[in-house]
Symmetry: C2
Subunit: 624 residues, 2 copies
């Protein structure tokens, strides 16, 4: 059908699904995609500026390469095209490379695609009990235990038991967690449904995923800033605060419990389920977060010789923590490795399968506590570093979480004008972590900041002086939803510099301890709350991710909550997490003498040692 | 030294202890005993009337038998003397037979003498932990579990764990219940002390015994009326009340929990111990009481086919019930047999060792719910009957618990004058169960009531007519502490008649089912809150206990709390209770057609069938 003006294009989406659309050869591929509801990211309005709308042409005739495309090929790979630049001239087959929200919700569950078998610890079983007679006066409890084939039960079931058994004529749903009976429900309607929640307790952000434990289906996702943040932005300041008094410790514990309860409340509202049908909560988090959840200040874990309060998977009744699910249900922690390498890393490894990766590979979890694992041969080495909450939009002047109204992706043109995309559309209210990273990277490309991170006042009219010093305006008061400028301040840039330096220096240090050069890594899994949307190129310009080819990076999204989800949904995964926790060796960066120096060198953008970011610097040049 | 006027007398006390005193041959033995602090019961001021101050002369010369003594010999045995009548004329050896309070406190723990080995489930162990180093960064919890050799712990220990370990330089007391670690206390002073409480949840009265779990020593005893009594005096009315609404059920559960908490509060004050050092509470009680404790109304247990909510030993965290001991401690129920034969009976059997008795024997637990067990050959048959709270002094006009100020023993002379003894001395405030039984028995002996229980107005000037009908005055307003008469009303007598009839009829019916005549019983264990002080003769006159020789009776006191104590103090006893619960067969009296008729015949005093109480009737005659 070449030359007819209309062609059929088969599209491979990023999540492995396929679809077919009809394209008009007189329009750009981007326009055709958007008209067909494939909402591929694009910021610059088709000017070939932002490098977001990337595709790969597998077969078919296309319009010739533009200068913009040639430029981006150097950065994004020699086989890509920009969909805003290319036109399709025959029937074709293409692959989307840029982030697409065509199938919303699915992208967020990356890392979960590998659940082959649903095997939750907590399950529902329909049982018909024999009715009591004068010859069989067995107790209701003993009748139940015999029929269920167990001796373990929560004694709180006794109060409702007799009535539940008779309400449905001795046919009941038994909710059992491992051996323990948690609930007995009369077998009426969908009474036997049961749910679980996987939680990532981040230092800054807490994320919860709600699952139907019978289908394994994710029903809702919610997140909130960790309520502890008002007592201290990083782990150390919270430990110090908790240490001061028993009351302080209780406040911290109460704050995390409250935040989890808020998330559970919102999850159950969103999915329209009853909270008392939730029987299981699996929490991943760093060692301090999990300790505070259980009311331990983790003080000794932050002082040599750094013994953590616990590393195993602790199971505690929801009622004992005040977590508002079914009161006979459980909260379980993901096992951890040490005071510095927590259950979040185990969850990340589980979700990424790093421990089974055949070659040399690394995992970077970008959070307030940045965590790094390197796998070389059979050795798994892990460490963590304090990055601070800035990468999650906290403590940055106009920062916010990656929720509706946040600028999540930004590109800046040669005139200093920003093009951005707002989550949920509409006017921006602030800027989230991924947006901040991209903004600073483009400020560096456009010369608005120099390599030391200093704002250059005369570089652009968007650099203005306010009461707190210089700042760079991304969205003016006229454009924003708040009636105030949305800007990046010099202080914001400093916070991001410290965060990214910590992460890069930790990776570099750990790779040296593992005797691996970064170029040798065949795969780098990137996890974190914003992992899905993180722009690799921007992260490299910033000097946060290492200067290695982009195809080696693999985003696993929030690996921590993904791993917690796997544990929630599969006993096998729970066992695997146990095994992983025995395999990983933990390194304390404070004990490594080169770390401080590497950290200082890494505060530059991208890095003081230009040799480490050769390709990135070349790309920056090419875009100017 | 005969004839010298002073002699040495060796005395065997009822609890097996011995002492020696010097006696003046010019005074009665009773006077000599009292002068030497041996406080043997006596009511009638040495007139040989009450038959309380009984002794047996093993060797030595004595004054000749008086008429009073000859009379009592027919009732109490041909080898007895009344200490108020006999004078000792040479060095002698005697045995006290009457109840003595010489060694106060000890008597109340009857039934516990047989604890041969202290082996509590909960124990304290001092452990020295290896200190963490950079080479050994194990978690505090994992360090503890390894040293204690267990994998089980209450997750609530985590909050205090790290600090407790370091407070005493890694030497700690570990409080372990079976496999589970309940607490970790820094090893300072007597930090490792731990206590337990055995509780009998009676329908009317709740009794608690506090023990030191390391020495097995009983530290305090407390009791209180069951707070549920305001919702219904017997089991059935409480079940009905609970059934009406979930709120009612919660009120009943709350009431028993509150009463237990009050008792625990008083116990720990009395013994000057900290409540949080109590880790274990073992509760005996009938099936309904134990069900209400766990929040189940036991409704189906009171309707055919009478399945109870549970019969096994249920263990529940104190915090889950709101019992105010250490919040990681446990409350455990004694196993039961059926809806009608509860954990109190298992406890009674355990305390009396009835199940091991070589011959034919019976056990009667005199409570609001009367319980009977008969052992014939290898068969243990058990039943229960509703006696009501009158035997415990509840619902009787001037009734009260057996505490300070209660008339606990009474004798009435031929002129209708009462002689009585008040618990703790002083003026009486009311009359407790044992006093009521003796009063009514003596009213029958003195012809103040007839065989049908009717008060005879003209029989004595102490029978007076008040607004609520006739009543018999035991202590006049002038004598009492309240300024009002303490009297037994016609209604009181009716309540006691119903109570005692239920018990006797149940015993008789069960003996028939067992194909045993009452005379064949070699032993009758009598348990109950007032079991220690119950006068056998008075109980036989009343027709509550059967007309068989007094030496066949053996009082075990509150067998229910004694059995619970055994379970608290010994894992072997706990296992034995399990075995007993499998051995006993439960009989539902409602299903036995003769029971109603036997009940009616037994309401007479002593009984409509004079043949059944031949000896008792003869004794009544001889005392007139």
């Amino acid at each position: 059908m070449a030359g007819s003006g209309f062609h059929r294009v088969k599209i491979h989406l990023t999540d492995g699904e396929e679809l077919e659309i009809e394209v008009d050869e007189s329009l750009s591929l981007l326009e055709n995609l958007l008209r067909n509801g494939v909402l591929i990211d694009n910021l610059c309005g088709g000017r070939g500026l932002c490098g977001k709308c990337v595709v790969k042409i597998i077969s078919g005739k296309t319009s010739p390469m533009t200068d913009q495309e040639k430029r981006w090929r150097k950065i994004l790979g020699s086989d890509i095209r920009l969909s805003c630049q290319v036109r399709i001239l025959s029937d074709a087959e293409i692959e989307l490379k840029g982030v697409s929200r065509a199938i919303e919700g699915k992208i967020l569950t990356w890392g979960l695609q590998e659940i082959t078998e649903l095997k939750p610890l907590t399950r529902s079983k329909k049982i018909r009990l024999r009715k009591p007679t004068l010859q069989d006066q067995k107790g209701d409890l003993e009748r139940l235990l015999e029929a269920a084939g167990t001796r373990h039960y929560d004694p709180l079931i006794i109060s409702e038991l007799s009535r539940s058994m008779r309400k449905s004529d001795f046919e009941v749903y038994v909710i059992q967690r491992g051996e323990e009976i948690l609930d007995v429900i009369s077998a009426e309607g969908n009474a036997g449904r049961l749910f679980g929640v996987a939680v990532d307790i981040g230092t800054t952000t807490i994320v919860g995923y709600l699952y139907d434990l019978e289908t394994g289906k994710n029903l809702a996702i919610e997140s909130a800033y960790n309520g502890q943040i008002k007592f201290g932005e990083d782990v150390i300041s919270r430990v110090d605060y908790a240490r001061k008094s028993a009351e302080n410790l209780r406040s911290l514990q109460g704050a995390v419990v409250n935040t989890i309860n808020e998330i559970i409340e919102k999850l159950s509202e969103k999915a329209r389920i009853e909270k008392h049908r939730i029987y299981d909560v699996v929490c991943a988090g760093n060692t301090t977060m999990l300790s505070l959840l259980l009311g331990n200040d983790c003080y000794y874990g932050s002082h040599a010789p750094y013994p953590p309060p616990f590393t195993s998977s602790v199971e505690v009744k929801a009622r004992d923590l005040g977590i508002k699910i079914n009161q006979r249900g459980y909260v379980k922690t993901v096992p951890s490795i040490s005071a510095y390498v927590g259950g979040d890393i185990i969850a990340d490894i589980l979700a990424s399968k790093l421990h089974k990766y055949p070659g040399k590979a690394a995992l970077i979890d970008l959070g307030t506590n940045g965590e790094i694992v390197i796998k070389a041969d059979d050795l798994l080495l892990s460490t963590s570093c304090a990055a601070g909450p800035a990468l999650e939009g906290y403590g940055v002047k106009d920062g916010m979480r990656a929720v509706k109204g946040a600028i999540e992706t930004v590109v800046i043109d040669e005139f200093g004008k920003s093009y951005y995309k707002v989550i949920g559309g509409g006017r921006p209210r602030g800027i989230c972590g991924s947006g901040i990273i991209e903004a600073i990277a483009w400020m560096r490309i456009r010369g608005i900041i120099d390599g030391s991170g200093k704002l250059i006042e005369e570089s652009s009219e968007k650099v203005v002086r306010g009461p707190e010093g210089l700042r760079f305006v991304i969205a003016s008061a006229k454009e924003s939803a708040t009636g105030r400028d949305i800007a990046i301040t010099q202080q914001d840039i400093r916070k991001i510099q410290l965060a990214k330096a910590a992460i890069y220096a930790a990776l570099l240090t750990l790779s040296r301890i593992s005797r691996i050069r970064l170029e040798e890594l065949e795969k780098i899994f990137v996890a974190g709350a914003f992992g899905n949307y993180l722009d690799i190129f921007a992260s490299q310009v910033l000097g946060m991710l290492p200067d290695i080819p982009r195809e080696k990076f693999s985003f696993i999204g929030n690996g921590s909550v993904a791993g917690a989800s796997l544990i929630l949904l599969s006993r096998d995964a729970a066992e695997e997490a146990q095994r992983i926790s025995k395999e990983v060796r933990s390194i304390e960066l404070n004990t490594i003498k080169d770390f401080q120096e590497e950290f200082i060198k890494a505060t530059h953008i991208p890095h003081m040692d230009k040799e480490l970011f050769k390709n990135t610097l070349k790309a920056i040049e090419s875009l100017r």
